[in-house]
């Protein structure tokens, strides 16, 4: 263990204080919500949530899951996130590979187009997409998944492109001499080599789709296809009638947990990814 340099630590004291206050606030908030999710509405309003005088009210979670339909929202979000993550990779990875490897007509235009698309605000695309979907008769879950996939293509392609460019061309030359076809080389040799980048980009796509709200609000016509964000908003709006605060806080915890757990295990990778791709000073 490194010896503590007290003089240095004392100089850093104001810094520690700032960090401590911020993190303490966050922790208090999370623990309070957790406590409230296991309490009755009466306990929440009387401010006695951490005494658990009437025990832990796990039934709040059962109510949220079954009665308030969180199970449906959760399954929807999982479905949207997983299918979108796979779909976007199937579109973006081949394009990223080809764009990083060869100069060809339109290649540069496509690349610039993808970079610009990354900062196009959703409000600029939402209206024509809406009318197009009505015209083509695509709706509900299928529509949402297709939109999420296409929405994430620019970011994913550009992110993977940077990684493919770092790979040596000797792999392909060797594969070519061994008689391996282009698409086969891509699938069997190049794709496994960028696996770390694929994992990072998939984490970001997953979190982004899981937390997406605007398009879900516009394109989900019924509660049965709502993802967690829209579902939670519905629960809160119906709170006036149900008055079930414990159940609502349980729903908040259930919605919050998946990306939070992902973060606990992969925070280093996620943080490295935030500033790794795209963000350049």
């Amino acid at each position: 263990m490194k010896k503590i340099n007290w003089k240095k630590e004392a100089r850093l004291l104001p810094g520690y204080l700032i960090m401590f206050i911020w993190v303490l606030f966050t922790a208090v908030m999370l623990f309070w919500i957790l406590g409230a999710s296991l309490s009755t509405s009466r306990e929440i309003f009387s401010g006695n949530i951490f005494k658990f005088e009437t025990g832990f009210h796990w039934e709040n979670y059962a109510t949220a899951w079954n009665v308030q339909n969180v199970s449906v929202f959760f399954a929807n979000s999982l479905l949207y996130s997983v299918i979108s993550c796979v779909g976007v990779l199937a579109i973006a990875a081949p394009a990223a590979y080809v764009l990083s490897r060869w100069q060809f007509t339109g290649g540069k235009t496509l690349r610039i187009g993808l970079v610009i698309a990354m900062s196009v605000p959703v409000i600029m695309v939402i209206m024509p997409i809406y009318s197009l979907s009505v015209q083509w008769g695509i709706k509900g879950r299928v529509l949402l998944v297709i939109l999420y996939i296409m929405l994430r293509v620019p970011y994913t392609t550009i992110y993977l492109l940077d990684f493919f460019s770092t790979l040596s061309r000797t792999y392909e030359e060797a594969a070519y001499l061994d008689g391996c076809s282009g698409p086969n080389t891509f699938l069997r040799i190049m794709l496994p080599l960028v696996q770390p980048a694929i994992i990072t980009v998939t984490i970001f796509n997953f979190m982004s789709v899981w937390n997406e709200f605007f398009m879900a609000l516009i394109f989900t016509s019924s509660e049965s296809m709502a993802p967690v964000g829209v579902g939670l908003l519905n629960i809160i709006n119906s709170m006036k009638y149900t008055g079930n605060y414990g159940g609502m806080f349980a729903a908040v915890i259930i919605v919050f947990l998946p990306t939070f757990l992902l973060y606990i295990f992969m925070s280093e990778k996620i943080i490295a990814g935030v500033t790794g791709g795209g963000v350049k000073g």
């Binding site: 850093l12 080809v98 490897r101 605000p121 024509p128 997409i129 698409p183 919605v255």
Partner: protein, 297 residues
């Protein structure tokens, strides 16, 4: 390496189609639509009638649109200054050699990875709650009277405050990566020359972070012009003048909101174009202001 034209074509086609269907076509159509009188968003082009700048004069003549622009501007300036300053402070502290750097960095970034709906709910239902909320507990601890944080007067600032809390971590990460790119020997030389920490920050760190600060301002502008979710959470059912932002105005106009009986997709498109122009303008202005920021070191 042999160039396989068929492979290039088939590998690019799906990405190209996504780009055209999801971005090129919709953006073009939205821009064109903003010059036409279009009632329903699903109306075919046959039902469009040319309106010139009519949609633009309409929205700029609308009181609620102007209120929404004013709110957005407040979030952009006041929220921006606070968020970016806090993010810079956090970034400097995290990189100052404190223990538990990784933990603090991860903890401060955390609000960015959880569902914003869940985060906003935590603030609305707990922190700002009148009966049992954290802020009122603190106020009472100091002998004050309970405050209606979500009343009409304070709602906007409550919303902006919680939005700031959720945003700081992201900009902190951007600044940290910038600070970590500055060579350490610059600071060592400055220390030998007798420059204090504050002096070092203003004379070394800030000038060398110009490029990163420029990026963060652009990102902040995109985030505030497309501000939607937090208003929807703080005013879930009725649109209120205290929290309305342009995207909410657009949403109500195009997809319907309480109290709005007529739809106007053309005006909605005009709102989208105005917001996009604002983002582009901010981008160009910061590019100009921070010119020559690619310092070599």
């Amino acid at each position: 390496m042999r160039k396989n034209k068929a492979m290039i074509f088939w590998f690019c086609l799906p990405a190209l189609l996504s780009l055209v269907i999801m971005f090129v076509y919709p953006v073009t159509r939205t821009v064109i639509m903003s010059f036409f009188q279009v009632e329903s968003v699903t109306a075919t082009t046959a039902d469009w009638s040319f309106y010139g700048l009519g949609n633009y004069t309409k929205i700029f003549g609308s009181a609620s649109f102007m209120t929404s622009m004013r709110n957005m501007l407040l979030i952009w300036i006041v929220g921006g200054v606070i968020t970016l300053a806090l993010a810079m402070l956090m970034a400097v502290v995290v990189t100052s050699g404190i223990r538990g750097k990784k933990f603090f960095r991860a903890a401060i970034y955390m609000p960015n990875i959880i569902s914003a709906v869940a985060l906003a709910t935590m603030w609305i239902q707990y922190i700002f709650n009148y009966d049992y909320g954290l802020l009122n507990e603190i106020v009472q601890l100091f002998g004050g009277d309970k405050v209606k944080w979500l009343g009409t007067d304070l709602k906007f600032w409550a919303m902006t405050g919680s939005f700031i809390f959720g945003s700081v971590g992201y900009y902190m990460l951007i600044y940290i990566s910038g600070i970590e790119g500055i060579p350490q020997d610059l600071y060592e030389a400055a220390t030998i020359d007798g420059a204090g920490k504050g002096r070092q920050f203003f004379d070394i760190t800030l000038p060398l972070l110009k490029g990163v600060i420029k990026t963060s301002i652009t990102f902040w502008s995109i985030n505030t012009t497309t501000f939607f979710l937090w208003t929807k959470m703080f005013s879930p059912i009725d649109t209120e003048s205290s929290t309305i932002v342009p995207v909410i105005y657009l949403y109500d106009m195009v997809f319907g909101g309480k109290g709005i009986t007529t739809r106007d997709a053309g005006a909605g498109a005009a709102v989208g174009v105005v917001l996009t122009l604002i983002i582009i303008a901010v981008y160009l202005v910061t590019e100009q202001l921070f010119k020559g920021s690619d310092l070599e070191y």
